[in-house]
């Protein structure tokens, strides 16, 4: 409880200082949230370069928004940044004339797992599983992908997600359940065993 209280206090503090135009607070916000926003943009857009560009855009937009608005609706800095991120991604799609889902060719690379204790076969299995998850996530509906990223990758609570999406907590819970079911269906359509067999061929 004490950790979340300190985090909440720290966030509130940073937001208030940002409102006052404090550059140190901006740097702190950047250090605290750049990785999270990068991941969010990465899994939404499927491109490392686009994700990096968007992170800069998000922070600049956030800075301008905070200076010029009352922040009555902004409960937390994190929620505000994610809302700005969502809108920035929509603008990005609109500008580039892209659909929200991406093709398999643009799917991000699988994560490297530096675990020397495992043998090569196990390592290959893990990589394959992870790659499959990433690949199939890109095929999900936009709102499904979003809630999965927030809940299971960024570890946000249901309340925080509800705050960002301006939905009720119950609705978020239902959406999450549907999202995971959809991902599970996509993943199990193609089992890892078949993928490995195909690779051997």
């Amino acid at each position: 409880m004490s950790d979340s209280l300190v985090t909440k206090w720290r966030e509130k503090n940073t937001l208030s200082r940002l409102k006052s135009g404090d550059k140190e607070a901006f740097i702190r916000a950047y250090d605290d949230f750049a990785d999270d926003l990068y991941r969010f943009a990465f899994f939404k857009l499927g491109s490392e370069e686009d994700a990096k560009d968007l992170v800069s855009v998000i922070f600049l937009k956030a800075w301008n928004y905070i200076q010029t608005n009352s922040l009555k609706d902004a409960k937390t800095l994190r929620a505000l940044l994610y809302r700005i991120a969502r809108n920035a991604i929509i603008d990005h799609y609109r500008d580039k004339g892209l659909a929200s889902e991406i093709s398999l060719e643009d799917a991000p690379q699988a994560l490297e797992l530096p675990d020397d204790s495992q043998n090569q076969e196990e390592l290959l299995d893990k990589k394959t599983d992870l790659g499959l998850i990433q690949e199939k996530m890109m095929l999900l509906k936009d709102e499904y992908r979003e809630v999965i990223i927030w809940r299971f990758i960024e570890d946000l609570s249901l309340d925080e997600i509800a705050n960002i999406t301006e939905k009720k907590k119950g609705n978020v819970r239902v959406l999450l359940h549907r999202a995971i079911s959809a991902l599970k269906d996509l993943v199990n359509e193609e089992s890892p065993q078949e993928t490995k067999a195909e690779k051997e061929l």
Binding site: G21, E48, K184
Partner: protein
């Protein structure tokens, strides 16, 4: 793949992050870009106001406020006991210490235990007074009013020690009856044949009861009385160190 495995894999995706070089570079660029719109730095006072306001907002939440209140109560209960006990007769909180001792005494039901506790408190007060008076920074010619007050208090405390110790109920001892006198059974008024005995008042011999206080001796006799008297004498002679030594002995005997 089971749902659990999917969730585990999703959790692993958390390790994806941008490279540090890019991050550093971007930080500098962004700082340059926002610098134009925010030339001023937040002052220390401004920072303090923000921190204070946010602390009030965060800690005014009902659950947090209640938890803080309970912690404060607990902490004050734990620490105030030791803190008050260290209050000296010339401290403003001394009266609070006396009050807390009174409260403690009121919770003691047994008469002897209460007398013993009162004697202990009085001995502690006398010790504190002697300590304060032994301090040359306190015991100065300009402070003789206070010194006189403490002298009077010391004598009162010593008297309290004496009276409380002597008031503790002694353990009764029965002396063996002399030949020819009737022995009264403690259990019944009948003799061994079951006949009720008439016990004339004159024939009853009761033993002289030696009051037993503190390890089988009384305050009206040696050695406790001697030590108390010695403490009083050394105090009158302003030999505070010897007074404190004697009071230490009294304290050990009481405990």
């Amino acid at each position: 793949m089971k749902e659990r495995e999917i969730l585990q894999q999703l959790n692993n995706l958390r390790n994806i992050r941008p490279d540090d070089a890019w991050k550093q570079n971007q930080r500098s660029l962004l700082l340059t870009q926002i610098s134009n719109s925010a030339p001023k730095e937040l002052s220390s006072w401004g920072n303090f106001v923000i921190v204070f306001k946010n602390s009030v907002k965060t800690f005014s939440q009902p659950a947090v406020a209640f938890a803080s209140f309970v912690c404060l109560l607990f902490a004050s209960a734990v620490f105030s006991h030791n803190w008050l006990n260290s209050a000296k007769p010339n401290d403003t909180l001394y009266i609070a210490r006396v009050i807390s001792e009174r409260v403690k005494l009121n919770t003691v039901v047994d008469k002897d235990s209460r007398q013993k506790l009162e004697a202990q408190f009085a001995a502690e007060h006398a010790t504190d007074i002697a300590e304060v008076l032994s301090d040359p920074k306190f015991n100065t010619p300009s402070n003789q009013g206070e010194v006189a007050r403490l002298n009077t208090s010391f004598n009162q405390e010593i008297e309290t020690v004496k009276t409380r110790l002597s008031a503790i109920t002694p353990v009764a001892t029965m002396t063996p009856a002399k030949t020819g006198e009737e022995v009264i059974s403690a259990s019944s008024g009948k003799d061994d044949k079951g006949v009720e005995l008439y016990i004339p008042a004159k024939a009853v011999k009761t033993s002289k009861v030696e009051p037993i206080v503190l390890a089988s001796s009384t305050a009206s006799s040696t050695p406790e009385k001697n030590i108390i008297d010695q403490a009083q004498d050394s105090f009158k002679k302003k030999d505070y160190q010897k007074t404190l030594d004697n009071l230490q002995k009294i304290d050990e005997l009481i405990k």
